[in-house]
């Protein structure tokens, strides 16, 4: 699965408070949350991000709170994919659960500049820079995450699990 989009470069340790400040966590509506996405990092960033664009960031993207409103807000902006050196663990799970594509690719962070056109292949983790012609080898999607994506995220995964057993029974022990 490949995605094409224009890059927006952010720094290291982008936290969930700047992705979506807690003062807006009184709704779960993606469009409403998107209006305030990245507001405390750069008040005009959300107006410059167009549907299909790609966020490129450094280490530990999504650190901090477990708020799923963070990937929802980013999805609400129409961001196609996040490419980062690494992701904070709760954000990593949340992104997969919600179907927000993310790729770990340290070299992309080093080389990509704002406005570069990128093509990202989710499964292989390969990032092609269409502006410079460079190709960056990222981390391939782990096998289990591939299955999770294939099942349709956590909702599909749970549905599939439930079909395999009787859920009305209380767990023993």
């Amino acid at each position: 699965m490949a995605m094409r989009g224009r890059a927006h470069k952010l720094g290291h340790h982008v936290d969930t408070d700047v992705i979506i400040p807690a003062r807006y966590l009184v709704t779960t509506d993606p469009a409403e949350l998107a209006k305030h996405c990245f507001e405390d990092l750069d008040p005009t960033l959300c107006t410059r991000i167009a549907p299909g664009d790609v966020i490129v960031a450094g280490e530990n993207f999504g650190q901090g709170s477990s708020r799923e409103h963070a990937p929802i807000a980013i999805k609400g902006l129409g961001v196609a994919c996040i490419v980062a050196i690494s992701f904070a663990r709760i954000f990593y799970r949340n992104a997969f659960n919600l179907g927000l594509p993310i790729v770990e690719c340290p070299e992309a962070y080093e080389q990509v500049r704002d406005g570069h056109e990128l093509e990202v292949d989710l499964e292989s983790g390969r990032v092609r820079n269409l502006t410079t012609g460079e190709v960056y080898a990222g981390r391939p999607l782990p096998e289990f995450m591939r299955r999770l994506v294939g099942a349709g995220g956590i909702v599909g995964y749970v549905r599939a699990t439930l079909q395999g057993r009787d859920v009305s029974a209380k767990r023993g022990g």
Binding site: P21, A22, E68, V158, V167
Partner: protein
């Protein structure tokens, strides 16, 4: 095969003899909870999963702590979603205002989390409970919905790093200072995806309240969980509260660690984390002259009785500086009541502090103490990111309760011994 405490708990809950770091395991979940912000999303995803009821009503809780008492119509509407779900499913463990406290503090007090548990919560500070020898981790709302539906959750077994505290703490140095020191050392992603296991004779000297503030902040180093082997003090704390049987696990003597880091704590001073990262840590005496507009003593990190006692020791006989505000928020009704009985609330009010019912409000810049542009707050909370407590140009210094109280009296960042005599040995 020898295993760490974290590995043993995960193996037991995956019904397998042993696990190794990197293994993906499908674990039984002993308990799952969400708060007023994360529950509505979890409920929405739970419904999409096509599940009729939660896996075990006795092992699920909803705790209102973020936007309560409801700050506006939107937060009231949001809480209504959870209230309706609780009624429809007849769920017994629901904590609305009056009975509610900050979830991590309340759920431990109420005996819902026990040694050896796999405990998940839709709140990042769920790692708090590792002080009891549980595997406790924060998850998003969708994962929480999965746990509510299945009573299980997939987890990747983390590598464990062991942090050993040697020596004896000086006066005014707390568990908060130890954990901030580690985060300053390894960075905010220094333990990313990993388990932080805390040990050593200096840990044994700490009260349970101080231990909770250490495991509470494991997530601030990026960790999946923070954990401690339960000692006699921990088990004494657990025994009268436990709602069900539990198992005590200990790391094998030859367990494999990714790293072992030893800290001689005898030389440590009270520290602060300066804006805008919990990893910017330095002794408060080296933080320079910083004027302070607001001080906040509360939260899941440091709103416990020991924190309030320490603050009261500093504040007794003093007044909050005329250009500074002090907020004190006991983390649970039980703590509030105890503080009343011990006369601590009297001390706070005599000093000119505002004392509030339990809420996370100020810590997240949500309500009850939001900062204006350019304001500085010394807070006993766990995060000082840009905009965390209010305006994006406000600034937060993280500290222990003694430092926050001293700053409130002097109107500037200060070591507690500038205001009060040092406490005797614990």
């Amino acid at each position: 095969m020898s295993m760490t405490l974290t590995e043993k708990i995960l193996a037991a809950h995956a019904d397998t003899a042993s696990v190794r770091p990197g293994d993906l395991v499908d674990c039984r979940v002993d308990f799952a909870f969400a708060n007023d912000i994360t529950a509505p999303l979890a409920i929405q995803e739970f419904r999409k999963m096509g599940v009729e009821r939660v896996f075990d009503p006795d092992r699920v809780a909803f705790v209102f702590d973020h936007y309560v008492p409801n700050k506006d119509i939107a937060s009231a509407q949001q809480c209504q979603i959870t209230r309706d779900f609780v009624r429809a499913h007849d769920l017994p463990h629901f904590y609305d205002i009056g009975r509610s406290g900050i979830a991590h503090v309340l759920l431990a007090e109420e005996g819902f989390v026990l040694p050896g548990d796999v405990f998940v919560g839709a709140d990042s500070h769920t790692c708090n409970h590792g002080a009891l020898g549980a595997f406790a981790t924060g998850v998003g709302s969708s994962d929480l919905a999965a746990a509510m539906a299945l009573g299980r959750l997939w987890l990747r077994v983390p590598e464990t790093v062991r942090y050993v505290f040697r020596g004896r703490l000086r006066p005014w140095v707390t568990g908060k200072d130890l954990v901030l020191t580690i985060i300053g050392d390894i960075g905010v992603d220094g333990a990313r995806y990993g388990a932080m296991e805390f040990a050593g004779e200096a840990l044994a000297q700490l009260t349970m309240d101080e231990r909770f503030s250490i495991t509470n902040m494991a997530v601030e180093a990026g960790a999946k969980n923070g954990i401690m082997e339960p000692d006699d003090a921990a088990l004494e704390w657990v025994r009268p509260r436990a709602r069900r049987p539990y198992t005590v696990y200990r790391s094998d003597p030859d367990a494999r660690y990714a790293d072992v880091r030893t800290y001689d704590v005898g030389g440590l001073e009270p520290v602060v984390a300066t804006p805008f990262s919990p990893g910017n840590v330095l002794p408060v005496r080296e933080a320079g002259q910083v004027q302070v507009d607001q001080c906040f003593i509360g939260t899941c990190t440091n709103g416990r009785i020991e924190d309030l006692r320490m603050a009261a020791r500093v504040l007794a006989g003093h007044k909050v500086h005329r250009h500074t505000r002090l907020l004190v928020i006991p983390a649970s009704p039980a703590i509030y009541r105890q503080a009343l009985e011990e006369g601590l609330i009297q001390v706070f009010m005599d000093a000119g502090a505002a004392v509030s019912t339990s809420t996370c409000g100020p810590c997240i810049g949500g309500h009850m103490g939001v900062l204006a542009q350019g304001e500085v707050c010394v807070s006993t909370s766990s995060r000082n990111f840009v905009g965390r407590m209010g305006h994006r140009e406000s600034r937060v210094y993280l500290a222990n309760a003694g430092v926050a109280a001293a700053a409130a009296v002097l109107g500037r960042l200060a070591h507690p011994d500038e205001v009060a005599p040092a406490p005797g040995p614990a």
